[in-house]
Subunit: 398 residues, 2 copies
């Protein structure tokens, strides 16, 4: 549980810097706070606002006739429209389950796949480097239902397992497919597709994903991380029911205010793309890709002559959404030390930059993850500190 | 997990009736949906509204310097003011941890009390009849950290345990104190005080509770169940940190929109009581007590000559909030069959009324819980159906 502990410690110690006034301040880029998107929404904030009356949204219930009885119908409709407009996932013949972020939905799927519980915990794997929260979430309550087994490439047990496929992958931005079945022939796996970053600002949309269990989150789609809204597209009714049961027991539903606002935000995004609606607005995904593209360009320029760090290249593909040849622009820089013995995160600490160590993502310590979705001033400070190391042979933090 | 399953089943089958047009419709009063409070908020809805701009509340963070880094500072201040105005709990020297409802905070406390985990799961108990969700929440993931052991009156193991004290108690409205320590002398217990119903509409406020770990929820305080906002007042910093860690792992914080709105709603309640602020408004708790008082009177009149059912009496105490002698007005009717062999919930089903069976609350099946915080039309329909049984010797549902 290192990542969450470091998160809590970093924030409780006040080391997070929202406005950087001094190069002495520690720059915490270890988390995925998507503040890059804020200027888009601030610019026309008053046109995109929502108003909630004192007597609105008071009941536990949103739609008693829906399997997911706490899903606001407007949000369900907005989600179906969004996937239709973007073309990244099939929503036909799918149940939508809403969650307090996609983290809760991941746990709901684990529960849905493993109850009633067998005599042995079901193995949960994801190919390394993996999103460190998977390991935390699976392990933190010491459940007898499931057990974290780490890297899908190393897993070779017979019998039931659950594999999480995250594409584009957090932390390293690679495009992923299921590993265990293809490698070992073990066909007893349940698959969870985590598509948090499968949006046009991050990657080419090459077709509508059509898997049984797909997770999405508003946090990385539009940048509204504080709303804690995620959704699952689920093919099997019984799985959707079990997921709903999980969320009922763990939190008796999901904030209605956040659902209401998320529906509005998604409507604005779709209107902007389709050029309809009362308010004329930009294409959000183009706007976001444009910023991220500039950041990647600046980062590559900064690192190309670095004595310390390497960045890998990403593929280009034809994007059906933009109609262009498009490369993956990962939400994170997955930095690799040139020297295999170097702890990349320690090296960054010497520059007063906090990243997430590759170690807790099931990878080597020569890797570290840096949030590129941070605020503009934080990104510029990051580049400035990296630039300062060029040719100076900086000593790492050991 | 019967209660949640029946919840999901009841709603998914469309048997929940928000507007009753026919006496044939099933009247589902098994849940604690607090719609009784809606008219107060609807009446002046536009004065109590909140507006959230498209670019507001986007970050995961609310206050990086706070132990609970996802707590909106305005909500923290509103909570402290509310307890000060009502006089029901001490907030000095307490950390506030916000949760997605108090259910999530209950789980956060279990985690805080039991990690790092010992070789044996810690026993969790509550005196019967208890809120059935305690049993569900403790058991549903088969955690090795803690284990549900049921009725605190029957618990007599040595060593560590956790006791939940719910006062006034859901389901039966009684005032509660800790049981295990007083009965067995076992002083190795951690106590969780669930004060969901410790508000002036439900009970006399006899002093400011000063326990180490106290849980509250906006759901029963003001009726905003859909917001999923609960809070804990916690004395020990390390416990508050661990709870924060739990919520970080399970849902990466709590909806900012709901927190923002809850702060506003609480402000309105306090302004109404203190007669300050721009909008003149009624004393919410007086309003709510008045409705609940009329419902109890009507219910007692209906049941007093019943051949089938009994209702127990509640004590009167001097309320420091209202300055009056005040009896407990439970949020639920805890109905008891006169005939010990009768299944009370089955009897109610014969009247097309769904309650919660005493059985899943650790009590006898001759008891059933009925939500008295329902909508006015639902309450009237409930009374009408009960009245129809008088002198008719209705046969129960077996």
């Amino acid at each position: 549980m290192v990542s969450t502990k470091s998160l809590v410690a970093a924030t409780a110690n006040g080391t997070r810097t929202s406005s950087l006034s001094s190069s002495d301040l520690v720059l915490n880029l270890s988390l995925g706070d998507p503040m890059m998107f804020e200027p888009f929404w601030k610019k026309m904030s008053d046109k995109y606002n929502v108003t909630i009356g004192g007597g609105d949204l008071m009941s536990y219930f949103s739609d008693g006739n829906n399997v997911c009885w706490f899903l606001e119908p407007e949000l369900g409709a907005a989600i179906r429209r969004l996937h239709g407009v973007v073309g990244n996932a099939v929503t036909d013949d799918r149940y939508i389950v809403v969650g307090t972020g996609s983290s809760q939905l991941f746990q709901a799927l684990l529960y849905a796949f493993t109850t009633p519980g067998g005599s042995e915990p079901v193995s949960v794997v994801s190919s390394a480097p993996y999103y460190s929260a998977y390991a935390e979430v699976v392990s933190f309550l010491r459940s007898e239902l499931y057990k974290w087994e780490g890297d899908a490439y190393k897993f070779n047990k017979k019998g039931a397992y659950i594999e999480v496929v995250n594409s584009p992958n957090n932390p390293d931005g690679t495009l992923r497919e299921a590993v265990v079945k293809n490698r070992t022939g073990n066909g007893n796996g349940k698959l969870i597709y985590d598509f948090a970053y499968s949006w046009p600002q991050f990657t080419a949309i090459t077709g509508a994903a059509d898997y049984d269990n797909m997770l999405f989150t508003i946090s990385k789609c539009t940048g509204h991380a504080g709303s804690r809204i995620g959704w699952a597209l689920v093919k099997d009714k019984d799985i959707a029911k079990k997921m709903t049961e999980y969320i009922t027991i763990s939190s008796i539903g999901v904030s209605k205010e956040s659902q209401f606002r998320a529906a509005k935000i998604i409507e604005v995004v779709c209107n902007g793309i389709q050029n309809v609606g009362p308010v004329k607005s930009e294409n959000f995904f183009e706007y976001a890709r444009n910023i991220l593209s500039k950041r990647w360009q600046k980062l590559r320029e900064t690192i190309q002559n670095s004595e310390h760090l390497i960045l890998s290249k990403y593929p280009q593909q034809h994007c059906l959404f933009s109609g262009k040849l498009t490369e993956t622009l990962s939400a994170y820089a997955w930095l690799e030390s040139k020297d295999d013995t170097q702890d990349c995160n320690e090296f960054l600490r010497g520059l007063k930059i906090i990243g997430k160590s590759g170690k807790i993502c099931g990878a080597h310590q020569k890797f570290a993850r840096i949030n590129l979705m941070c605020r503009e001033e934080e990104f510029n400070q990051f580049i400035e500190r990296l630039s300062a190391t060029r040719g100076k042979g900086i000593i790492n933090g050991h």
